[in-house]
C-alpha cells in the first residue's frame, strides 16, 4: 500500500525522509504540544460511483494535530476522500474513525469556492460557522474574534460581493474556524487565487493551524504548496495511497529552499511517471 520513495530516488538526504510507518513518528517539535486536534484512522476505505471505482482501499492513520497534504492527478479521488472524511458522502466499505466522540462542529471543510451567503453580511456569514451555537450569547464575540484572526475585522459589515477573492476565502476560513474545529479539511482552498494571494493565504493557514492545533487535511494540486505547508504528503494513485512522504523541514519554512525543492521534484516525478505508465 505505502511504497517508499526511496526505491526511485537518487541517494540524497531526502530519500531517508520517506516514511514507511507513519504511526511511528507522531511527536515532532514543530507540532503544537497541546493539540486540540483529533487523530484519524481510515481502514479499507472504498468508494465507487456506479462502475467507477474511485477509492480502492485506503488505509491511513493521521495523528492528532498533523498537517497532511493530499496530492494526485485530477480525478484520482482526492475530493472524494475528503468528502468521505467530512461525512458528505457515504462510505461503501471500510471505516473512518476519529478516536473520540465527534460533534458536527468538530469537523469543518473549506472548498475552492468560498460558498458565502451573498445576502448575509460578512459577520453573519462567519456566525453560520457556529452551527448549533448560533443562538448562544457569545456568538457575536466569537464571530468577531474569528474574523480578526483572519485579519478582516474591519470588513464585518460588508456584503461579500465587494470583497476580493482572497478576502472571501478568508471569511470562509473564519467561518470554518469559529467553532474551534478539531479537524479541518481543505479541498483546494487556494486553487482559484492568484500567486501572491495564494502565498499570503498559505502563511495564514499555517499560522492558524499552529495557533489552534487542529488536524489539517489539505487537498491540493500544487505540490510546492503541499511541501511548504504539510508535515506529510500523501500521493493518491489508482484509488490507493501510492506514496506517503514525511516533510521534516523546520517551520517557518523557507519557500524555494533546496530541501523543499528537492522534495517537490521527487513527488512531481512520481506523479509524472505514473502518467507515463498509463
Amino acid at each position: 500500500m505505502q511504497t517508499a520513495l526511496r526505491t526511485s530516488l537518487p541517494e540524497t538526504g531526502l530519500a531517508s525522509r520517506a516514511n514507511f510507518a507513519p504511526h511511528a513518528r507522531v511527536v515532532r517539535e514543530e507540532r503544537p504540544v497541546h493539540t486540540s486536534g483529533l487523530p484519524l484512522s481510515i481502514r479499507g476505505l472504498r468508494k465507487s460511483f456506479g462502475d467507477n471505482e474511485v477509492l480502492r482501499g485506503i488505509d491511513l492513520h493521521i495523528p492528532a494535530g498533523q498537517f497532511v497534504a493530499i496530492v494526485g492527478k485530477s480525478g484520482c479521488g482526492k475530493s472524494t476522500l475528503l468528502r468521505l472524511i467530512a461525512g458528505l458522502e457515504k462510505v461503501d466499505a471500510g471505516s473512518i474513525s476519529f478516536g473520540d466522540q465527534v460533534q458536527p462542529e468538530d469537523i469543518r471543510v473549506m472548498f475552492q469556492e468560498p460558498r458565502l451567503l451573498p445576502w448575509a453580511r460578512v459577520l453573519a456569514n462567519v456566525k453560520v460557522g457556529l452551527g448549533r451555537d448560533r443562538a448562544s450569547g457569545d456568538a457575536q464575540s466569537r464571530a468577531e474574534k474569528a474574523l480578526s484572526e483572519v485579519g478582516l475585522a474591519d470588513k464585518r459589515g460588508q456584503w461579500p460581493s465587494v470583497l476580493s477573492g482572497g478576502q472571501k476565502q478568508r471569511v470562509a476560513l473564519a467561518r470554518a474556524l469559529v467553532s474551534r474545529p478539531r479537524v479541518l479539511a481543505f479541498d483546494e482552498p487556494l486553487g482559484a487565487l492568484d500567486a501572491l494571494t495564494r502565498i499570503s493565504m498559505q502563511r495564514l493557514l499555517e499560522r492558524v493551524w499552529r495557533d489552534q492545533g487542529f488536524t489539517a487535511i489539505l487537498v491540493t494540486h500544487d505540490v510546492s504548496e503541499a511541501v511548504a505547508l504539510a508535515d506529510r504528503v500523501l500521493v493518491i494513485e489508482e484509488g490507493r495511497i501510492a506514496h506517503d512522504v514525511l516533510v521534516n523541514a523546520a517551520r517557518p519554512r523557507e519557500r524555494g529552499s533546496v530541501e523543499l525543492a528537492g522534495l517537490e521534484g521527487s513527488i512531481l516525478s512520481h506523479l509524472l511517471s505514473a502518467d507515463d505508465r498509463t
Binding site: E105, L117, P118, W119, A120, V128, G131, W159
Partner: protein, 268 residues
C-alpha cells in the same frame, strides 16, 4: 432601477440631482406638443382631446366622486386578484421547487394549462360568474398565477447547490436552510415574476372591465365611449398607465430594499 440598466450604466454618467428630472423631459415635451397640436387645430378634438380637456374632464369626475370610486374599485380588484393568484402561484412554486413528488404530480398539468391564453376564457368565465366581482378576480388571479409560479419555481431550482450543501454542513435545519439559503437565493427570480405579473394584472383587468363590468375604470371608459366623451376615454387610458407605473415603482422599491446585497443594487 432594474438589474439590467443599473449594470450597464457606467457610474460617471450618473448625475444624481438631475437624474430624477431627466426622465420627465420626454413625456413633458410630448404633452406640450400634443397640447399645441390640439390648440392650433392640427389634430381635431374629436380624434384626440387636448391634454387640458382631459385634465378638465378628470377634475369634473373627481368632484362628482365618480373617478375616485372607479379607481378604487379597479385598484381593489387588481390587488385582491393579484394576492389570490400570486399566493397560489407562490405556493405551487415553493412546493414544486422543494419537493420532487409535488413537481411530478402537478408541474406537467400546470405547464399544459399555461398554454391556454387566460383571456380566451372570458366567455366561459362570464357564463360561470356573470359579470360578478368573482369573474374579474378569477381572471386576474389566473393571469397572475403563471408568472409567479414559473419564476418562483425557477428561482428555487437554480439556488446554488453548493450553498445548500454548505448550509447542511454547518448544521442548518430544513427551516433555517429555507429561510437563510433557498428563499433569499430565489428572491431575485421571484421579483422578476412579480414584475411580469403586475403587467398581466392590469392588462387582464382592463379587458375584463371593458367587457364585463358595471364599475371600474374599464367600465368608465366604455360608458364614455357610448356617450362620445372622448376626453374621459383618454383619461381612463392615462389613469391605467399611471396605475401600472405606480405598481411597477412599488415593486422596484421593494426589490431595492430586499435585494440590497445584490451587486446591481449596491450604493454607487
Amino acid at each position: 432601477m432594474s438589474l439590467i440598466d443599473s449594470v450597464s450604466f457606467p457610474r460617471s454618467v450618473r448625475l444624481p440631482r438631475v437624474d430624477g428630472l431627466i426622465q420627465w423631459i420626454v413625456p413633458l415635451a410630448i404633452i406640450a406638443i400634443w397640447q399645441l397640436a390640439c390648440v392650433t387645430g392640427f389634430v381635431p378634438t374629436r380624434v384626440l382631446p387636448a391634454p387640458s380637456d382631459v385634465v378638465l374632464a378628470g377634475w369634473k369626475l373627481l368632484l362628482s366622486g365618480e373617478l375616485v370610486r372607479n379607481i378604487w374599485v379597479s385598484f381593489w380588484r387588481a390587488s385582491i386578484g393579484f394576492l389570490i393568484g400570486g399566493s397560489i402561484g407562490f405556493a405551487f412554486g415553493l412546493a414544486n421547487g422543494l419537493s420532487q413528488l409535488s413537481a411530478k404530480l402537478t408541474d406537467t398539468t400546470l405547464q399544459m394549462v399555461r398554454n391556454v391564453p387566460h383571456l380566451a376564457l372570458i366567455p366561459l368565465v362570464i357564463l360561470w360568474f356573470g359579470i360578478d366581482e368573482s369573474a374579474k378576480l378569477f381572471l386576474v388571479a389566473l393571469g397572475v398565477f403563471f408568472p409567479i409560479y414559473l419564476n418562483t419555481l425557477h428561482g428555487i431550482r437554480t439556488v446554488d447547490p453548493q450553498l445548500i450543501e454548505m448550509g447542511r454542513i454547518y448544521g442548518m435545519t430544513d427551516g433555517e436552510l429555507f429561510r437563510r439559503v433557498i428563499f433569499p437565493g430565489a428572491l431575485p427570480s421571484i421579483f422578476v415574476g412579480i414584475r411580469f405579473a403586475l403587467g398581466i394584472m392590469w392588462l387582464t383587468l382592463i379587458v375584463a372591465e371593458t367587457i364585463a363590468a358595471s364599475s371600474g375604470l374599464g367600465y368608465m371608459a366604455m360608458q364614455a365611449r357610448e356617450f362620445m366623451l372622448i376626453d374621459v376615454v383618454v383619461l381612463s387610458i392615462l389613469i391605467y398607465a399611471l396605475l401600472g407605473k405606480l405598481a411597477d415603482s412599488a415593486s422596484r422599491v421593494l426589490e431595492r430594499l430586499t435585494l440590497a446585497w445584490h451587486p446591481a443594487f449596491q450604493k454607487r
